[in-house]
């Protein structure tokens, strides 16, 4: 599978999807004008990875602000991981947060609520 790499902008996060490492990384603020257009490739990549490969998949998040549609897209990604987890695929999410902004923990917990796959919320420097 191809590497998917999207550079960050003032309103969109940096995204890196590496099939060899089984890693998706998202970092920064997310309030694109058209979330569905922006995240289209990412969603396609995740679906393709889960359908065509059987190796583990880890999603590392260092997200700060999400607009409403970004929240929705992230939930859609978690739905895909949840479906995969039910089929006994090795998937996990690690949500890194800035220790100076502990309110992010509550937000991450909200996302985690409906997920049964491993979901860690870790303070990062």
């Amino acid at each position: 599978m191809n590497l998917l790499s999207i550079e960050a902008t003032g309103t969109t996060p940096k995204i890196l999807c590496d099939a060899d490492q089984g890693l998706i990384s998202m970092e920064g603020d997310s309030y694109p004008e058209n979330s569905f257009e922006f995240f289209k490739d990412l969603l396609t990549w995740v679906e393709e990875y889960l359908e065509t490969l059987s190796t583990p998949l880890k999603l590392e998040l260092r997200l700060i602000y999400l607009n409403t549609s970004s929240v929705k897209i992230l939930m859609d990604i978690f739905d895909l991981l949840e479906e995969a987890h039910i089929k006994e695929r090795d998937v996990q999410v690690i949500w890194f947060y800035d220790i100076r902004n502990e309110r992010v923990v509550e937000l991450a917990e909200e996302f985690k609520e409906d997920c049964t796959f491993p979901f860690l919320i870790i303070a990062a420097d």
Binding site: Y65, N67, T68, K72, M75, N101, E106, L107, F111
Partner: protein
Amino acid sequence: MDTSKFDNQHEWIKALIDDPAYGDNPLKPALVQLFQNEKKSRIKLDRLMSLADAFGHLHIETLIADYERLAKRLEKITRISDRYQKNMMDLNQQLQQAAFYDPLTKLPNRRFFLPKLKEENSRSQHEGSPFCLAMLDIDFFKRFNDDFGHEVGDVILCRIAKAISVNTRENDHCARWGGEEFILLLRNTPVLIATGVMERIRKAVNSIDLSDIGEGISSSTSIGLTVCRVGENYNDTIKRADTALLQAKRTGRNRVEIIE
């Protein structure tokens, strides 16, 4: 499905089975089998009708379940999004605070104060009623830092700032002007009233309890007070208040010196 358009119940059940909208309905296979074998199995029509009724209801229940699941998801998205919005607002407020307030004493800083002074100067020139400006400087403050260290010096500064702030009238503005300097704008106030206010502040600073820091220690402030002049730029008012402060220092400290 509207049953009134069918001539009989058989036609209605057949239409139900043929309708692609009910393709996933789990009762469909049972209904199809019974319908096809109706005569053979001698099943009574009313039992078939009951099953057909249940068939329709189950589809509606599936739709309701789907709707409820989507509504729950929407509620969650909205709740999370609202939290993000609130966090952003709180962060903005903190940034505002940092931009316009002194982090040590929590008093407004110059950036906050100067526009207020400019505004009051305009008002005064326009309405013809005066405002007063006072400069305050803590007497011998360096001694606190030298004798007790900067951390204790900061504590004393904060107590003095609080005494000034608490005795500032609601419509007036005080700010930390520099290291141990403060400034006070007495809006729409003649000099006689302003003198009374500044005397009160001077006494309040004098009365601060510093016994926990050392025996016999007290604080005091020198104050330079002036009143605005007609047609004057507010920077000149500041300079005159500063000159008055210098005079207060030269003539013994712990006093209010006035230059009108």
